[in-house]
């Protein structure tokens, strides 16, 4: 009995050693980067790294006064919000069709939607660039909205589809015998029942839209259309080089809301990230 207890004690030590080490590895760069955001520029790139800097809000004033940060923020929020709305409008009926009806090519259509997720953005970058150029949409949040929606549509559809498959068919059948139409069943019975799935899909789509880089870089070629993600890459002051403290602060500005939303929805996150393949 005693030996068993000692054994579990040992494995606990190893467990916490390993988990703790990884936690440290996760958090150290983040804390260090935060310290970069809260120091002045002269303390960033020095012959010897400074580990305990003097606190300074230089970067905070810089991002609002020297850069159109409010504009970038608005672009990000607008494009992301719009794209999620487009996704939900297209994905809910599509997911309903894929999860509730039996018809020819259903599996193929489902897989086609999924497979668009595998396409490297670089493959389609050139045609998409010219498409938006010809439509006169370069440098606008409309183009970003359309492209973010397209990138995330496969994920959103598959997540919602997975949640719809969990709804027992009896629920619909009861409504159908009462004479409700298919459309009414979708909007008044199914959609409210899978609300957690819809929120999960929206959160995941939001994260991927915030992260999107290549298309934004190409579509938004001037500060007019920059989002936070791409604005970062342009925080350079000519001969002064990369302005790291501003970059660090903006990174945290984007991180905090995402972190809060994810902590609130984390129960569903793993299911969302695998597009419904793993039920968390």
């Amino acid at each position: 009995m005693a030996s068993v207890r000692r054994k579990t004690g040992e494995s606990l030590l190893i467990r916490y050693l390993i988990l703790g080490t990884w936690a440290l590895f996760c958090l150290m760069p983040v804390i260090w980067f935060l310290s970069i955001g809260l120091r002045s520029r002269v303390e960033i790139i020095t012959p010897q790294p400074i580990y305990f800097p003097i606190f300074s809000l230089e970067a905070w004033w810089m991002i609002w006064e020297d850069w159109p940060m409010a504009k970038y923020l608005l672009n990000s929020v607008g494009a992301i919000f719009g794209s999620v709305v487009i996704d939900l409008i297209l994905a809910i009926p599509a997911a309903y069709s894929l999860s509730r009806y039996n018809y020819r090519f259903r599996e193929d259509i489902g897989f086609y939607i999924l497979s668009t997720r595998m396409m490297a953005p670089a493959i389609v970058a050139i045609p998409i660039f010219f498409l938006f150029k010809n439509m006169g949409l370069l440098d606008s949040i409309w183009a970003l909205m359309l492209i973010y929606a397209a990138i995330n549509l496969s994920i959103v559809t598959w997540i919602i589809r997975s949640y719809m498959m969990d709804i027992p068919k009896e629920l619909e059948d009861a409504a159908r015998t009462d004479g409700a139409s298919d459309m009414r069943i979708l909007w008044e019975i199914i959609t409210p029942a899978i609300l957690p799935g819809i929120i999960t899909a929206a959160v995941i789509a939001m994260i991927f839209a915030i992260n999107e880089f290549l298309f934004t870089l190409l579509i938004a070629s001037t500060p007019k259309g920059y989002t936070m993600s791409v604005a970062l890459a342009n925080f350079t002051g000519g001969s002064d080089g990369v302005i790291y403290n501003a970059i660090a602060l903006v990174s945290f500005l984007a991180f905090v809301p995402v972190f809060i939303v994810v902590v609130l929805t984390q129960k569903h996150l793993s299911r969302g990230l695998t597009m419904g393949a793993v039920k968390g």
Binding site: I44, S97, I109, I123, L217
Partner: protein, 307 residues
């Protein structure tokens, strides 16, 4: 005159309406899914055709000049293109294997832990930063502020600053570390969910039979987890092969094109050298590879994991 046809049409119209209604019912699921499919064709089918057509042309800024297979001819003899393919594969494979092993180990230790929720939130943090921000963290940490060199010097492992930027393997390692740091949480999260979703009674029964936790993990949990692991790794593999942001920000593909990925190659030939026809040819090759891999690997992984 006006009345007679109406009376005659009465039953006819009704049956036609019924027929149309039935037809509509058969088409209904297609109608529901059509808008999404059409929308996705905008970013897949249209660009695909566009890229194929453009790849047969010489396109700089002006008109498209038809040159047949010349772009492909040049592409297959281009060592930078082959280099980009190899780099993508090497960095992707090392990164994917590393993060899968780490994530599985962490998940094994964390899923039975009473504080699993806390670990999950801590481990999630890197994933929630924008990739461009992560790239800058690592660029500053390894290159511009030379923190890693300084730390290694302090503990006496090296004498001078590391010349990371002039070493292909050190540059690759830097990109891999950034990717592992940011995306191990993705796999961890899914693996933990997979382990937690398993039937506890099976584990308990094995434990009563005297099996140790490592034995249970290797012989029971892991085999049951296979579909979950496959799906997670496939998703990660897709994203790793499209690696662009960190290359763009940290290494610009250097030194000596040693870290140039296929995405960066297409970007550079298209939007730096404005050789659009050539870049399109590279896109088409990538597209073909993507479709083949999707059909062979992804389809199987997803179909086996589902439901």
């Amino acid at each position: 005159m006006t009345n007679t046809p109406q009376v005659n049409l009465g039953p006819q119209r009704q049956s036609r309406f019924k027929r149309r209604n039935k037809k509509l019912k058969a088409w209904f699921p297609y109608i529901l899914v059509a808008p999404a499919v059409l929308y996705l064709m905008m970013i897949t089918l249209y660009p695909g055709i566009y890229a194929v057509v453009q790849s047969f042309h010489y396109v700089k800024f002006g008109p498209w000049n038809f040159i047949g297979l010349e772009n492909y001819n040049e592409l297959f003899g281009d060592y930078q293109f082959w280099g980009a393919l190899t780099n993508t594969f090497i960095m992707g494979a090392i990164s994917l294997i590393t993060q899968s092993v780490i994530a599985l180990a962490l998940a094994y230790f964390a899923y039975r832990d009473p504080w699993v929720k806390g670990w999950r939130i801590i481990f999630l943090v890197p994933m929630l930063f924008m990739p461009s921000a992560v790239a800058f963290i690592y660029k500053l940490f390894f290159l511009d502020a030379r923190v890693i060199s300084d730390l290694l010097m302090r503990i006496g492992l090296i004498d001078g600053n590391l010349a990371i930027q002039s070493s292909i393997w050190m540059s690759r390692t830097l990109l891999i570390i950034a990717d592992v740091w940011q995306w191990t949480p993705f796999l961890f999260l899914i693996f933990v969910a997979g382990l937690q979703g398993q039937d506890e009674e099976v584990e308990e029964a094995a434990r009563l039979d005297g099996a140790t936790w490592p034995q249970i993990f290797w012989n029971i949990s892991l085999p049951l987890m296979k579909p979950v692991i496959a799906v997670a790794m496939v998703i990660r593999a897709i994203d790793i092969t499209t690696m662009f942001t960190s290359v763009f920000i940290i290494t610009k593909g250097g030194p000596a094109f040693g870290t140039e990925t296929i995405s960066y190659f297409i970007y550079r030939t298209g939007f730096k050298f404005f050789n659009f026809g050539y870049a399109s040819a590279a896109s088409v090759v990538m597209l073909v590879i993507t479709i083949v891999v999707a059909q062979l690997v992804v389809k199987r992984a997803f179909m086996s994991a589902r439901d």
